[in-house]
Symmetry: C2
Subunit: 257 residues, 2 copies
């Protein structure tokens, strides 16, 4: 199957390399920047292009892995073709493609990707959606090569999934960032927080997060919380501390009721 | 060495069991509630007591693992003795013991403990502090039996460590809780977030958190963020979303400068 990749970011890179390993024929990689297109194209034996009109029209699949804000615009510039158009975005509805083509779908891998890190695709939940059941079957076959966990999901539900990722990944990582700043103040390396970070993540494999919650905010221990607030200089970080503590306490009360 | 445990909560339980395995002689476990005292005492071959005045005076070590707010009060009720008094609290200064005894210290394991989960003590960073160098040596010997990572740390710095734990564990877990609620809305099980949660934690072993940050808040993508805010019903959760997003964006800008 001939595949064109539109985008060469983190998701595109991991997905293209994995499909290449499963002997998909990646023919072109488009990116706005020449360097990105070439870096990915080189790894998957494809041609790098930076001109949308140079995208060939005889491919079987076109995978759009670009920023949400440019997806519709890029799709509108593709030459009409009979290929299967697929995007990988959590928050973009499937019907972004409706004005431009008849065969389309979504393949959303629920994971965080960095170019420098290997990920195990087999464990990544992949959520799929397509314009009709024939395309859904095709997408299902492709996704099942990649992962052991493939589920159909509507655009309406997928947007909640994306929001979940913001809390469970982006916001969690920011808590790590704030932690690292506090450790720096005490002259301690970030490494010493890793066993705690690992155990916190491991815990929710066997205990639901609400039951796993510990710390001064659960019982709203003002004594400890006031001490902590005095150690924080930045007003926004203070407010984050207060607000999350209130939220933890509120959930703890609701749980008891 | 004869050890008395004052407290039978999560930290006391894990610490007492581990010391018991290293053949420390746990003689008594005190707790306000009979059931807690007995549950732990049974596991470490100790006598359960609920009366502070029944604490024997001939032990070598007294380990206080109780809520911050009651520590000083409980210490004040102990009969005078020549044992080594040690507490395990992150935010309590070492000098909480000064009015009551001459030999004292702190042993702070930087980890989250639940009674139902096994933890690998060898990897837990333990921070120690003592009234003098002789006691520090003793505490160092004990802590080194438990863990491969033992570091002396002053009370002033330890309080920052405790605050770090609130962000890296308590607040992170609350982000998991909020995620689980959002997934529930979409009718999806929490399990499907686990690969993402694991990878987010694993990432910061090799990439500093600030560089690992991804998501719409990094470039303050109002388009995506507005969509997300519309999916959140609860005002406090909306405010958490806004505030953490602003904080992520601010750090991303500072990083570029």
């Amino acid at each position: 199957m001939k595949v064109v990749f539109i985008g060469a970011g983190n998701v595109a890179t991991h997905l293209a390399i994995q499909l290449y390993e499963y002997r998909f024929d990646i023919v072109q990689v488009y990116s706005r920047t020449c360097e990105s297109a070439e870096t990915l194209a080189r790894q998957v034996g494809a041609t790098a292009i930076t001109d949308i009109s140079a995208i060939q029209t005889d491919a079987d699949i076109y995978i759009f892995s670009v920023k949400d804000s440019v997806l519709a615009n890029i799709a509108s510039q593709l030459l009409p073709n009979s290929g299967f158009w697929v995007h990988t975005a959590g928050s973009m509805p499937i019907d972004v493609f409706t004005p431009f083509t008849a065969r389309y779908g979504v393949l959303y891998p629920f994971q965080t990707f960095s170019k420098v890190r290997h990920v195990d695709w087999k464990t990544i939940p992949i959520f799929i959606e397509a314009s009709d059941s024939k395309e859904l079957n095709l997408l299902n076959t492709i996704a099942n090569k990649l992962s052991d966990v493939v589920l159909p999901l509507s655009s309406d539900k997928r947007k909640y999934l994306h929001l979940t990722g913001v809390f469970a990944c982006n916001f969690v990582n920011h808590m790590y960032t704030l932690s690292s700043e506090i450790l720096e103040k005490a002259g301690l390396p970030f490494d010493i927080a890793l066993p705690l970070i690992d155990e916190t993540a491991a815990k929710v494999h066997s205990i639901v997060p609400l039951d796993a919650q510990t710390g001064p905010a659960v019982r709203f221990d003002n004594n400890v919380m006031d001490k902590h607030l005095k150690l924080i200089n930045d007003d926004r970080t203070k407010e984050i501390y207060r607000l999350i503590s209130e939220s933890i306490h509120q959930k703890a009360i609701q749980k008891k009721q």
